[in-house]
């Protein structure tokens, strides 16, 4: 891939599986949006951020109102704020657990939607990426199962060309199955 030569080297601690996953996910998104021309759908992140910051607003409001009015007088407002805080965070948890699940990328190109969800078992180096391709009524799936060892070299540097080639072929295979 000629367009990757300009990029800076991404070097991480190869013994940290969280870092390995995040590095792969981040580069996946970067490749799909800048090289493969997908438009990323930020809905999951935006929902998470808005709910989170909204709950923080309630915490700030409760603190400010109680500081201004004293504990006894502020009790009804404090109760509303505390209840809202926990309800909002519960909604955020429900969203993450039942709707976002393990999605690492959702994006569209030419009316077609590509969703990639990831699975990484604890203490495992096998990273599984499920590609779901939807174009109107046509649907395709492809599962890419790979090892972090194929995408990172001995020094913990991400070999972007290999990862990008794997992702590219996975997308192609997921789109082929839709045409059948």
């Amino acid at each position: 891939m000629s367009n990757t030569t300009m990029q800076e080297e991404i070097k991480i601690n190869k013994y940290d599986s969280t870092q390995l996953k995040h590095t792969v996910d981040d580069h996946l998104r970067k490749y799909l949006t800048s090289d493969a021309n997908y438009v990323e759908n930020h809905q999951h992140m935006d929902v998470k951020l808005s709910l989170g910051y909204l709950s923080c607003l309630f915490a700030a409001a409760a603190t400010y109102y109680e500081w201004k009015n004293g504990f006894q007088k502020a009790k009804p407002v404090t109760l509303i704020c505390v209840a809202s805080y926990f309800v909002i965070n519960f909604i955020a948890w429900v969203y993450a657990y039942f709707i976002e699940k393990q999605d690492v990328f959702v994006g569209t190109k030419d009316g077609a939607t590509l969703k990639i969800s990831a699975r990484l078992a604890r203490l495992s180096e096998t990273y599984t990426l499920d590609f779901h391709f939807t174009d109107g009524k046509k649907k395709g799936n492809y599962t890419l199962e790979s090892s972090f060892g194929k995408w990172f070299n001995e020094d913990g540097v991400l070999v972007t060309s290999v990862l990008e080639a794997d992702v590219k072929s996975a997308i192609e295979r997921s789109t082929i199955s839709k045409e059948q």
Partner: protein, 175 residues
């Protein structure tokens, strides 16, 4: 470790900042929930002096409740805050008067380990404290757990070092 932080996009940075805020606000809101449940502004306090020995020692953690329906009784150990003073006091109620018309309560307190009652600790010419000054009544205690708080009060820098380390860790560590 910082390179990873530098590679994040705007949304990811906002998420890392949100993680720090969630650590702080969740602790704060659990505290406020506890305060509402016990009707006590500060449901957990640390004993700072030996004036209630042998019941409580310096560093003991006290669990308080202040049910609005229950009046204070003689013998209750109360945490109270004298107006315009920073530090609340934990002492036992030794005398109590109820005003029949208004239901207002007048309390006199004394530390079990002190020789005299608390009138010397109250504001000048203040003879009694009222139920409004009571933050909570002691319902339980955990010995020595509060020593951490005393250490942090004695060495305030420790608090900021711990907060700083914790904050930095949350900021650079992704789930």
């Amino acid at each position: 470790m910082f390179e990873e932080l530098r590679r994040l996009n705007k949304r990811q940075v906002a998420l890392q900042v949100l993680n720090i805020l969630m650590v702080l606000t969740s602790a704060l809101m659990i505290w406020k929930g506890l305060a509402l449940a016990t009707n006590s502004e500060s449901p957990i306090v640390v004993v700072l002096s030996g004036s209630m020995e042998p019941a409580f020692h310096r560093g003991d953690l006290l669990l308080l409740a202040n049910p609005a329906s229950q009046p204070v009784q003689v013998g209750d150990i109360c945490v109270f805050q004298i107006p315009h003073r920073d530090i609340p006091i934990v002492h036992r109620v030794i005398k109590l008067h109820d005003e029949a018309k208004t239901g207002k309560q007048f309390l006199l307190t004394k530390g079990d380990n002190n020789n005299v009652d608390d009138r010397g600790l109250y504001n000048a010419r203040q003879m009694w404290i009222n139920k409004e000054h009571v933050v909570g009544r002691v319902r339980g205690f955990m010995p020595y757990v509060g020593m951490v708080t005393i250490l942090m009060n004695d060495y305030p820098q420790l608090k900021y070092v711990m907060l700083g380390v914790l904050g930095l860790f949350v900021l650079i560590h992704r789930e």
